[in-house]
């Protein structure tokens, strides 16, 4: 029953803890997933931003190279220095490289079209530049006469500038968008993280509250348990005291009753004897009388004196003597019950051997052997233990089976805090239905061919109880018996409370 209650409480506690833990784990998982997702989107945004910036840088470089080409071209037209030609070539080569790089970087369709446009324009200009370098003189002339704003080369440069600016603007816008997205992701991250943290905190607080409440309940339970224990101890002590008092009262009652019953018995037996004496006198007188005067002989009177009276007196005497024995037994029991027990360390093997030695003659008469095996020592009242063992061994010798030689074994064993002493015989055994009966006062079992008042085992059991132990029997009819005496290895005296 207490196990079930404990299980139920444990299950409730476990369910709470597991529930809270589950919530905590789910929240944590959500927070982690949210974090990973937001971090992913943030790093993606960052990536995008980086790429946008790269593209911007590339576009800027393109613009710069474009300007360099234009400047070199103009310089060459003003003064056909090979330096300018080199500048133009170098810038042109750089431009091409940059253009190829930008081509790789671009994703947006519009931008790619614009780059295509740039490529076309550049290709057209390259043709012009090549023509200029191939025939510088014509180029100079044309340049002198040409309206500057009509020059195809100038227009291309301008166009490239325009296209590059629009591309750059587009990328700037893209950058703005990406930055915005990055910010959004961050905000989202903070919100999710914050909410998860708050929820976790909530779970933590709840868990702490639950634990605190659990602790409080536990402390409360412990306090009430202690109170209950104290109450229980008091109740047990009170009850033990009452029992001991009641027991003492019974003992005292038994003592007084048995004692006071003996007084009238003295009279009954005494006057029965006196009656018998008187009868003998009468009988003697009648014998004399009948001898001297046979004609007076009355058979009825003679029978009364010679048979009826002695028979009646004999019944009175035997019954009274039996009554006296019973009363003496009760007296003996009550006397033992009143004796103060004095625990001492007992060498059980020596004690048992002494008993066996004292029973040597009886064992020989019964043709039985007694063997004493190892018995653990114990602390108890010597006289009581001796009486118990003496009684059990005597019984073993008394109720042997006529079919086989008697073998009695006394052996001991040890259990937790208990010493067990077994008296085992191969005697006539006890029927299972009599196992309880034999321990009752004045009750016996089996063939009534042995002397006894049915007192021994009652006494044994009473003594065993007084010593805080028990005595049990294991037996079957005609299969021998095993009487087991279990005593606490250390006897603690329990006296009545004042």
């Amino acid at each position: 029953m207490p196990d079930k209650v404990r299980e139920r409480y444990e299950r409730i506690g476990r369910r709470r803890v597991i529930g809270l833990l589950g919530i905590g784990i789910v929240l944590l998982a959500i927070a982690i997933i949210a974090g990973i997702v937001t971090l992913g989107s943030i790093s993606e945004d960052t990536d995008q931003v980086e790429r946008v910036m790269e593209r911007q840088a590339s576009i800027d470089s393109l613009s710069t190279f474009n300007e360099q080409i234009a400047a070199g071209q103009r310089g060459f037209l003003l003064q056909p220095d090979p330096d300018f030609a080199r500048i133009v070539r170098e810038a042109s080569a750089d431009y091409e490289t940059e253009q190829a790089r930008l081509d790789d970087l671009l994703v947006d369709g519009g931008q790619i079209q614009k780059l295509e446009q740039l490529r076309r324009l550049n290709a057209e200009r390259t043709v012009l530049v090549d023509a200029m370098f191939a025939d510088p003189a014509t180029a100079f002339l044309e340049a002198r006469n040409l309206d500057f704003s009509d020059d195809r080369g100038v227009l291309i440069t301008q166009e490239i500038r325009e296209v590059a600016r629009s591309m750059s603007d587009f990328e700037a816008e893209e950058l703005g968008r990406r930055n915005q997205a990055q910010l959004g992701s961050l905000v989202q991250f903070y919100i999710v993280g914050g909410v998860a943290t708050l929820l976790l905190l909530g779970v933590l607080v709840t868990a702490v509250l639950v634990v605190l409440r659990y602790n409080r309940e536990l402390a409360q339970a412990q306090i009430s348990l202690r109170e209950a224990n104290v109450g229980l101890e008091e109740a047990v002590q009170k009850r033990t005291g009452e029992l001991l008092r009641a027991n003492e009262e019974i003992q005292r009652f038994a003592y007084i009753v048995s004692h006071d019953l003996r007084s009238p018995l003295v009279n009954v037996l005494g006057f029965t004897s006196e009656l018998d004496e008187a009868r003998k006198t009468i009988r003697d007188h009648l014998t004399e009388l009948y001898e001297s005067k046979p004609e007076l002989r009355n058979e009825e009177v003679w029978l009364a004196v010679d048979e009826d009276l002695p028979e009646a007196l004999d019944f009175i005497r035997t019954s009274t003597e039996k009554m006296d024995r019973l009363i003496n037994s009760i007296l003996e029991l009550s006397r033992q019950g009143r004796r103060k027990l004095q625990p001492e360390m007992l060498d059980m093997e020596a004690l048992t051997s002494d008993i066996v030695t004292s029973l040597h003659q009886r064992a020989e008469d019964a043709g039985a052997s007694i063997e004493v095996k190892a018995i653990p020592d114990l602390e108890s009242d010597r006289i009581a233990v001796e009486q118990i063992l003496q009684n059990l061994i005597e019984n073993a010798l008394k109720y042997l089976s006529p079919k086989r030689a008697g073998e009695v074994t006394v052996e001991g064993s040890k259990a937790v805090g208990t010493v067990r002493i077994d008296v085992i015989d191969n005697g006539r055994g006890i029927a299972p239905e009599d196992h309880e009966r034999i321990f009752e006062l004045f009750r016996r079992a089996g063939a009534q061919d042995q002397e006894g008042e049915g007192l021994g085992l009652a006494n044994v059991r009473a003594l065993a109880y007084r010593l805080g132990g028990i005595v049990e029997v294991e037996s079957e009819l005609d299969q021998g018996s095993r009487f087991r005496l279990s005593l606490p290895s250390k006897f603690v005296a329990q006296e009545a409370l004042p």
Partner: protein
């Protein structure tokens, strides 16, 4: 035997049957001393201490005492006899059914001279009383005046 003749036996015994059996057996043992029988403690004490023919006033006596009396405990009578200036040398034979060791010890402590347990078995009982009779025939009882 002259000195014994003057010793009166005071029997304090509430059970008439016991008293009768004791008397019978004492007589059978050949003791013919005067036996005074009391069935309660009060009249017995009155006789012991105050009666002109009682032992306190007149002559030595021997007390047969039962411990279970209706009006008082035999031990308190024993105590009174042994505590009295005149009577404390009077032999007291406690003859009772109690064979409790503590009680026996207490009686001897109080100065009882002989303690006999009445056996229920009549043969033993008669035997004990007859032996007591023999004992009575040989003991010297001090006179109250010989203090």
């Amino acid at each position: 035997m002259n000195s014994q003749q003057t010793v009166g036996i005071v029997m304090i015994e509430d059970d008439e049957g016991h008293a009768r059996l004791i008397e019978k057996n004492i007589r059978r043992a050949g003791i013919s001393n005067d036996i005074k029988h009391f069935t309660d403690g009060t009249t017995a004490l009155d006789y012991l201490f105050n009666d002109p023919s009682g032992p306190a006033q007149n002559g030595p006596a021997l007390v047969l005492l039962d411990l279970n009396l209706p009006d008082m405990s035999g031990t308190s009578i024993l105590e009174k006899i042994k505590g009295d200036q005149k009577l404390h040398r009077t032999p007291v034979v406690v003859l009772t059914t109690t064979d409790d060791k503590v009680e026996i010890q207490r009686c001897y402590d109080l100065g009882c001279n002989v303690y006999i347990t009445k056996p229920v078995n009549y043969e033993s009982f008669a035997d004990a009383i007859r032996q007591l009779g023999l004992f009575l025939s040989v003991i010297q009882v001090p006179s109250v005046d010989e203090q």
